[in-house]
Symmetry: C2
């Protein structure tokens, strides 16, 4: 008998029929003798509909009330799921994030989990019931106001509950069969991975793979919670996300885990920055104050001693306008000549723990891009990742070329549908 | 400066535009220098839609989860209302029933308020904010489960908050201008009452007047909370529901407050009950066990010493089948010959505190019915009410005849739209 935490996203509970399917799976797990805790997102489009309502009522920004509003979404799905599970002859009780003891910081819309005190969840389990917990939400430690965790919040709820309860596994149900060597919509021959380390998963997630959000993987790594990413539509085994030591048992692990890509970023190039100490700091201070998430940074050292330099960085397209305004607002400090904005870029990342010990990976990687005729605009690396920025229109060719070059293509021609995971 | 509790029903917050209208009124009250607490129902059809969803997911009865589900409704309306009020430049914070300290019994779907500990509401008021509280919901004292109060719940929330906070008035906003001498849809000349006592309002509410639910009036009477029933569409003064002592200051109060009618009841006649002690007790024990709300009871004494008697009683039509099954299930105990069910009846009630001290009211009442050609099937009285059961098709004629006979008809021809109050 194990204690299993299962997480179902919005697409898994999009309507009454879908909720009944999830209920059947939960009941089956319970009847197999396991203790089950379920973290559930709001049904399909509920969150979007609630946001639309808020915009119809108010043009203002009301973070506390927006969180109060949005948390109605999981309240609806969790109560319906509990009813459907009880119809299967299995006891079930639903709990809000607050009732389940998900204690967070006060930042509405993007609160961080500070602690999980799941006393009522434990009591429900001990009573033989399935505990259904609202994903994505918590209660602030200081003000007792209701908070939401932001993107990827329900996955994080599930992992945090699994950690607090000492669960054997956290199963993340989604609409794909697991984590793939590349996005199957771009690379039809992409293969499902049986296992992947937290570190690799983190790099893939940070590089644009949408199956798990980085914060949820970080949480799992910190508390060593095994994650099993699997499909809510098929009964198949998915991908296990685990610590490196468990995976390192065998010498036959692949060197490369996969190729991720990301179309959501833009590039800003700040031209003509005086080449004196402190200017880069000024630039990124201004950007940080505007709450912009900077990803890759490249500085081209001025080869001709012109006394000025250029700095390029990538950032989410949605932060673009804010970043430009911040940089130009600090022009007196930074002293730059010009700011260029380019949102026709793509980012490609090759991830693999084997990079640490293998040689020639970079050479093979750049050769593959060259042979595919792809020009590289920026490069950034970690010990288990190489990322490059290319023109957006060359991105998919580049992904396929690299995927093939590293022998990741599947030979069994399995058809896969790939999509997002909801919140 | 006063402390005012305002209650807005589902029809007052049916869409974004309606919510903004309510927000403007709340902000206006606040800007006039008053402290304001608002109890709000779910938007228009939200509750019905959630019930529909539950039926699509489950055919079972899951009271705890149903309450969890339905309380999402007020969560949505209260958050939206708080946003709209903040847009008016007035601070506002929304609170669930649980956060507002509405402590109830454990009976899901029809919980009773046991205590109100509105610490967070008081803190919000002291901070200069309007506190928006979810109507209709609370938290059970023992299990901390979320409960709902059932029909008229939001009105009761408002009155209970007003009592706990020592508010100067509880304003119940609805879609009519107040309490009328009769339903204006039936009696076009019905007049709005300026004042009415708790006792009279209770009798009217129990007799079919839908503007306030009896439990809310009972609560107000117990804690002496002045209620002001008024329209959320007009700015007009409505009807004050107050204690008798306040009203009795003047000798010019009307003897009769109004005429109520009710089409929601049916009549059961149990024929051929052995005329020996204890049989009536057996009958009503059986009915009570089936959770049937009995209203009027009439026993026809057997004039011809046949050794058997008939008992008639009225009950909600929705309880009809259950009552008949219960009576026939106890046939061996009761010993009756036959059960007749009649749902083509109507009930008419004349209510007025002046009945206590005036003579000739009954005579005038029955004469009016006789002159209108209305046959009377049952009679029941309290010290401030006379009720009769008639054929359903004669009910409206009877209401108009009695209304005119007691001089209640208005002479100013004011047009009124009358409707329900939501939950």
């Amino acid at each position: 008998m194990s204690l299993i935490v299962q997480k179902y996203g919005g697409s898994s509970v999009s309507d009454a029929a879908a909720i009944k399917r999830v209920a059947a799976r939960v009941a089956e797990t319970k009847k197999a003798g396991h203790d089950v805790v379920v973290a559930v997102s709001a049904m399909g489009d509920t969150t979007d509909e609630l946001i639309e309502l808020a915009h119809a009522v108010s043009g203002g920004s009301h973070a506390r009330e927006m969180d109060m509003l949005l948390t109605a979404g999981e309240r609806i799905s969790m109560a319906l799921l509990a009813m459907a599970i009880r119809d299967q002859g299995v006891g079930a009780q639903s709990f809000t994030g607050s009732q389940a003891g998900v204690i967070t910081s006060e930042q509405h819309g993007r609160a961080r989990i500070i602690d999980v005190t799941p006393g009522r969840v434990v009591k429900a389990i001990e009573a033989g019931d399935v505990a259904i917990v609202a994903g994505f939400q918590g209660v602030s430690v200081d003000t007792k106001n209701i908070t939401t965790l932001g993107r990827g919040g329900s996955d994080t709820t599930a992992v945090a509950l699994a950690a607090a309860l000492g669960a054997d596994v956290c199963e993340i149900y989604t609409d794909v069969d697991g984590v793939f060597t590349a996005d199957p919509r771009v690379v039809p021959g992409a293969r499902r991975l049986d296992r992947i380390t937290y570190d690799e998963m983190l790099e893939l997630a940070a590089s644009g793979a949408k199956v798990l959000m980085p914060r949820c993987v970080e949480y799992a790594r910190r508390f060593n919670v095994p994650i099993h990413v699997r499909s809510s539509f098929s009964g198949r085994e998915g991908t296990w996300v685990v610590a490196a030591t468990e995976q390192g048992d065998t010498m036959e692990e692949p060197i490369i885990s996969g190729v991720a890509h990301d179309r959501s970023e833009a590039k800003i190039t700040v031209i003509g920055i005086p080449d004196v100490p402190g200017k880069a700091a000024r630039l990124f201070e201004a950007v940080a104050k505007a709450d912009v998430n900077v990803d890759m940074i490249v500085q081209n050292v001025s080869a001709h001693s012109t006394g000025v330099t250029d700095i390029s960085f990538t950032l989410p397209k949605s932060d673009g306008e804010r970043a430009i305004a911040a940089i130009n607002g600090a022009k007196a400090d930074i002293g730059h000549a010009e700011v260029r904005y380019d949102d026709a870029i793509g980012k490609l990342s090759l991830v693999g723990a084997g990079m640490r010990s293998s040689t020639g990976i970079s050479a093979k990687f750049f050769a593959a891009l060259r042979d595919a005729g792809v020009n590289i605009e920026m490069i950034s690396t970690s010990d288990i990742r190489i990322s490059v920025v290319t023109r957006a229109e060359h991105l998919e060719d580049a992904v396929r070329a690299v995927h093939t070059s590293f022998g990741l293509d599947s030979t069994d021609g399995e058809a896969i549908v790939y999509g997002g995971t909801g919140r």
